[in-house]
């Protein structure tokens, strides 16, 4: 842990700093806490001032209504399937490519790597119109495949994983080869397990990215049965103009899996963010 020396030196302002940090942290959590309080209020009761939060009545009736009367679980399922398949395919494709770039010598290796790297500079957001046309002409609009495929060739994954695989000692590779390991087993049984922390970090970032992706599903999905969570929520909300309590319950339900996942995977998420910033 760095900076401990600095911290240990007596700092007269330390209590003030901790207090300011504490208040800031509460400010960041405030809207999320508010969302959960509102979702527990019966329809028609006040939830607008913080004082209302701590005054009964509370109910879990909204949750029951939403679970029985909306497609929120279908959206969660769609987001999960799309996120899961996107993540698995991305990890497979990027780690295989990273393995080749890290552990094989072949002509035009550097040129090909640069060609892939250049993809970092192509902003998906500016490519939605041609992408829509391409996916459409492939007949994949409004399908799972159409949601998943555009996201799987992410150069950032290749870069992060290659830099990790570079750290796997070549002596290990050579000795595995002497034992008769073919390229595929070398990749699957030797290199991939040694890079698993990086693979996990890339995987989690990919999953979160897909789970929260808004723009592409918003364009590519027409059928309500294929809505992912970020698209389903606004569509649901727009049916309610008078009240916000039921929509807030949908938002709360949508956030619970993410918050749990965050508490479980915080380390890997933080690691993934650090990689992605430093390398790209």
């Amino acid at each position: 842990m760095s900076q401990t020396r600095l911290e240990n030196k007596r700092d007269p302002f330390r209590p003030v700093k901790v207090a300011v940090a504490f208040i800031s942290a509460l400010l960041f959590l405030f809207p999320i806490i508010w969302m959960f309080f509102v979702s527990l209020k019966p329809e028609g009761t006040a939830a607008s001032s913080p004082l209302d939060w701590f005054a009964p009545p509370y109910t879990i009736g909204n949750y029951v209504d939403i679970i029985l009367g909306s497609d929120v679980f279908l959206w969660i399922w769609n987001s999960f399937i799309v996120g899961f398949l996107t993540t698995v395919l991305t990890l497979l494709l990027t780690s295989m490519a990273a393995f080749a770039f890290s552990k094989m010598r072949f002509r035009y290796r550097k040129a090909l790597y640069l060609f892939f790297l250049a993809g970092l500079m192509v902003p998906g957001e500016a490519m939605i119109i041609p992408l829509y046309e391409i996916i459409g002409s492939m007949g994949l609009l409004d399908t799972y495949a159409g949601l998943i495929l555009p996201g799987i060739a992410a150069p950032l994954g290749v870069i992060i994983l290659k830099s990790f695989f570079d750290g796997v000692p070549n002596e290990l590779i050579e000795s595995a080869k002497l034992d008769g390991c073919n390229d595929f087993r070398l990749y699957w049984n030797v290199v991939l397990p040694l890079g698993k922390s990086a693979v996990a970090a890339v995987g989690i970032l990919t999953f979160i990215g897909s789970w929260n992706n808004f723009l592409w599903p918003f364009l590519a999905i027409i059928s309500e049965s294929l809505y992912t969570l970020p698209v389903g929520i606004p569509m649901f909300n727009s049916n309610y103009s008078e009240t916000y309590i039921l929509p807030m319950t949908v938002n709360a339900i949508a956030s619970i899996p993410v918050i749990i996942a965050f508490l479980v995977f915080e380390k890997q998420i933080v690691k993934g963010v650090s990689f992605s910033g430093i390398k790209g």
């Binding site: 800031s24 508010w34 002509r107 500016a126 939605i128 391409i134 650090s274 910033g277």
Partner: protein
């Protein structure tokens, strides 16, 4: 080193082919397809007439385009410095040596992983007049006025920037936190031996050590801010009027509401050029950490 044979060249093929195909199909091909579409009157019903550079000529005369471009630029100019400075302040707080530091880090980062749909919806109802939490709290502190956050252009911008800050600043904070923890202890120990004060240590050690990462965060943030879309669509839908409409929203409206895909593609292409230039600058100036090779 022995000379590479065709056998060596074939070895990586099974490992690269799938990525290569997907990459060419969904990253490289759209660039050329977009260029082609921008030269046609391209509608959803596949009516395609070649119009050359007419879309680009029209774009340069389109006041709506310039307004959207100006809005996006305004967002970049206002949000980038706040995003960087606030991220540093939050990282310093999360790096305080207390038992609460995990709580601080978690709280600052948590909004970043929530869906933009959730974030935007919560924001709309917190900011609404008369019954919104924000106005209620401000009035508890003595504000007489009833601010219409999302119905007044300048306040709508303040709201969008504040929401974006809340939603995404945690990402930059993590980058700063990682960098802070990477500063060698010896630097502080040496400074302490020399009798440096805490302020001196901050200005002479911490900040200079953070310079490369700051440059990188700044450039990444400009790129990210230029692509602003979802939270504006969901919170103000570009309003009031068109005063908060960014470029991507205008592209979306042209392409998917007015079905003028050719014109939208031309606009996308201009945005692509701007972002490409910014990316190249990022790769050149991003410092050792930002340079990819």
């Amino acid at each position: 080193m022995k000379k590479l044979t065709w056998r060596d060249d074939l070895r990586p093929v099974p490992f690269l082919i799938a990525f290569f195909v997907a990459y060419v199909l969904f990253t490289v091909y759209p660039i050329f397809k977009g260029m082609q579409m921008s030269l046609f009157n391209w509608t959803l019903i596949e009516q395609q007439d070649f119009v050359g550079l007419a879309h680009y000529a029209n774009l340069l005369k389109d006041p709506n385009f310039w307004e959207a471009f100006g809005n996006t630029t305004l967002f970049v100019v206002l949000s980038t410095p706040t995003m960087v400075i606030l991220a540093l302040v939050l990282a310093l707080m999360a790096n305080l040596n207390t038992k609460l530091k995990t709580f601080f880090r978690g709280s600052f980062f948590l909004p970043s992983i929530l869906s933009v749909s959730v974030i935007s919806f919560v924001a709309i109802f917190m900011l609404q007049p008369y019954t919104g939490v924000v106005n209620n709290i401000l009035q508890a502190f003595g504000l007489d006025k009833e601010p219409f956050w999302l119905a007044t252009p300048s306040l709508a911008w303040v709201s969008i920037i504040a929401v974006t800050l809340w939603w995404t600043v945690g990402f930059n904070m993590i980058l700063y936190l990682t960098a802070l923890q990477g500063i060698p202890d010896e630097l502080y120990e040496a400074a302490e031996v020399d009798g440096a004060t805490r302020q001196q240590m901050f200005w002479r050690i911490t900040l200079p050590q953070l310079l490369p990462i700051s440059r990188l965060i700044f450039l990444l943030q400009i790129l990210a801010s230029f692509k602003v879309f979802a939270q504006i669509l969901l919170i103000t839908d570009g309003g009031p009027g068109t005063s908060t409409r960014p470029i991507i929203l205008y592209i979306y409206e042209m392409g998917f509401e007015r079905y003028d895909l050719g014109y939208a593609a031309a606009m996308s292409y201009l945005l692509f050029m701007v972002l490409l230039v910014l990316s190249v600058i990022q790769l050149r100036l991003g410092g050792k950490e930002g340079r990819l090779l």
